[in-house]
Amino acid sequence: MRPDDDRMNPGAISPFDGEIPFDPDLADLVGELDAAGARARANRAVDDRQRPSTSFELALRERLVAQLPSAAPAAAGAAAPRLAQPAWAPEVGHEVAPRGLAPRVAGRPPMILPAPRWTALAVAAALIITVVGLRTSIVNPVLPETRASAVAAATLVRDGVASPLVAGTELHVGDEIRTAAGGAATLELGASQARLAGASALRLDALANGRLDLAQLYGRVHHRVGADADRYTVTTASVTWTATGTAFDIERALDPVGETATLTAVEHDVVVDGPGLEATVVEGRVTTVRLTGAGGLDVETGPIDADTLTDPWLLKNARLDLALGFDLGIFEGIDLAEATPAPTPTPTQAPIVNPTATPTATPTAAPTPTPTPVPTPAPTPKPTPKPTPKPTPAPTPTPAPEIATLSLSAAGCGGAILLDWSTYGGSQPFNHYTVLRSTSPEIPLAYPPQGGAVDFGNTYTTNVAKTLSHDASATPGTTYWYRAMAFDAEDRVIGASDTVAASTTGVAGLGGLTIGPDVEPGKTRFTWTPLGGDGTCFTYYKLVYSADDPNPSYLTGSTTLYAGSSQPESTTVAAAPAGPYWFRLQAIRVTDFGKFVVAQTDAVQYTVP
């Protein structure tokens, strides 16, 4: 038998309990390999190059964890999923009895077609009418005005590139909006609105000619359909939810079995459609569809229950609908103010005052300080009740928490302003950071921002160790003032920095990129002017190229040919693919909240031999 003969005694390998069952005479060799491996691992343990950077580790962690639901503590029961109850419980004391209309859940009936000749004629006629009728709208689609509002800790993913979502951003088909845990965003889609709760994501699939197609990827979204939407469809995996002129709420949630989508029909009906499933969910019903699992779609439906009517998220949206003059559906007759859990008012937050309920001041947890106007009389015959004014005792102000000092440095880099603040080390319970921006040095210690300050949207984090961010929305040449603040769970300021000023000059130009064949066959030499500076605004170079994009960029997904973190470097040799390409070298800065282009060369077209 040769020493490396593969044959061996089967008894030597079974059972295999984790130890290597080899011949005893291999023990010395294994010991030597083990010792070498241990030495290598010991060296790795002290080698920083083999450990991920803290900024990368934290940024990736936050991004991934935000896509999963948190296990809500019992005290925060409002965030728990509200699956349909087996029956409405009238003894809970609510006087509003929703209409208990049963949904229709059935398989699609087979269609009986007329004679083939008439069928062909009918199809042809329908095609002609469709083409003639829709040609104008196809050529010139009527697009609703779409933009983001009420944004907090949200990200816009466009063409595969993620960037902070700021209020007022115009939205396009294909855009994906994600909110971090604790964040929020409202998408204005013409007269319709999609309001994203924290840890949610929505993609805009179609936005033309009165048709709004949205894909709810995860999390919870409240959909309020405006009168200008002929068809409003939300897709959750293989199930679509379609409505015309209504309000409904969809929550995708994961459980130990798989994933579910739960719809609450807040006002009017919603048609649900999926493989082997066609149903109408009428107002006042909750329907849960199991999206994953064997044996087709599981459907559970029932009337709303007391939890639904006291759900803070639904109540918040009902108040917004009331302010916008929409019908309230299941919330009609409910005292929205009374049903709201009253948080402790703080000296830094002005409570929202309902002008119709004087002299009572109603503190709310709503992030936007929009005064609630008198509800517009609804066009439907249903009367819209006003919240019953009830006198409440004057709130007892809690003492202002101690405010710890944070340090903040703002460096004007090309393309963005780099913001680096110190970790909060005070004695108050930390909840999150936010950095505010203003064009004046006065930035009040308060949130929502006051006195002309704005939240530019790239600094909210509940991770106390994430303290490096950037403001890529700053206008080049404009001097901005920044103040970093730490907050507790009630948005009270518990740490703050002084205001510091900085400005950016926009993405710097590195001039041309010299490209030519290297002395080594098959290689191409690239030479550029180094970025220079002290390295504050530099993390690495990326040499990118594209066959069809004359403006290739690392941030838009162009192919990377070279990556290097040696800042003074000005030349590299790489094996580029043969053919004509646009090449560009970019200097990139990475922070805890993403990355931005600091400087770049001109895009140079070159044909690689």
Binding site: D4, F22, A40, S53, T560, A574
Partner: protein
């Protein structure tokens, strides 16, 4: 990580972000180290590591994990990402690699990412004859020895990373070690 705890964390991760966070905290430095030892460049390693964990998150959210080792699955995905990267690297990042390096006994694409790890492991070996023997081994044997002794993968992780059962892994390890011993004997004879 204890396999029972790991399975429990994977099961909880679909509905509890903190469970996924614990898995992430445990495996991120390991997977990053595994990748950076093979690709060399930290920026590239960050991209590949992020892609690995993004895929892990998607798989967890779909509930596709069963009884497989999560860590081993991560290493396998990372290995595939490295191979994909190296394939792209035919036109992207063969930095520092000369054309002559690819001539002669040219390794297949799947092994290129392991070359750096092999070199690092070989450098840690005491005897030159073992270094030469290790380099001379067939790729399948070499890869297994590097994963086991250099990267320090656990048995379950090795099984998942290589897509084989524990008995099969025992056979593979035995074959690799005997082949290494035979190669050492041959190297010693040649030297004499």
């Amino acid at each position: 990580m204890d396999s029972d705890r790991e399975r429990a964390l994977v099961a909880r991760s679909r509905s509890d972000a903190s469970a996924f966070g614990e898995l992430y905290d445990y495996y991120l430095p390991r997977v990053f180290g595994f990748v950076v030892r093979r690709v060399g460049d930290r920026a590239v390693a960050e991209d590949l590591t992020a892609a690995t964990f993004e895929r892990a998150l998607g798989t967890i959210r779909r509930g596709d994990f069963r009884n497989e080792s999560f860590g081993g699955w991560l290493y396998r995905v990372a290995s595939n990402a490295i191979v994909d990267h190296v394939r792209r690297g035919r036109r992207t990042i063969p930095l520092g690699m000369r054309a002559s390096d690819l001539d002669g006994d040219r390794p297949n694409e799947e092994s290129i990412g392991d070359e750096a790890a092999l070199a690092a492991f070989a450098a840690a070996l005491d005897r030159d004859v073992i270094r030469r023997a290790l380099v001379a081994l067939p790729e399948t044997h070499r890869q297994l020895i590097v994963l086991k002794f250099f990267d320090g993968l656990e048995i379950d992780e090795l099984c998942a990373a290589l897509g084989c059962s524990r008995p099969t892994l025992a056979v593979k390890l035995h074959r690799a070690l005997r082949a290494l011993r035979a190669e050492i004997a041959r190297e010693s004879t040649d030297a004499a």
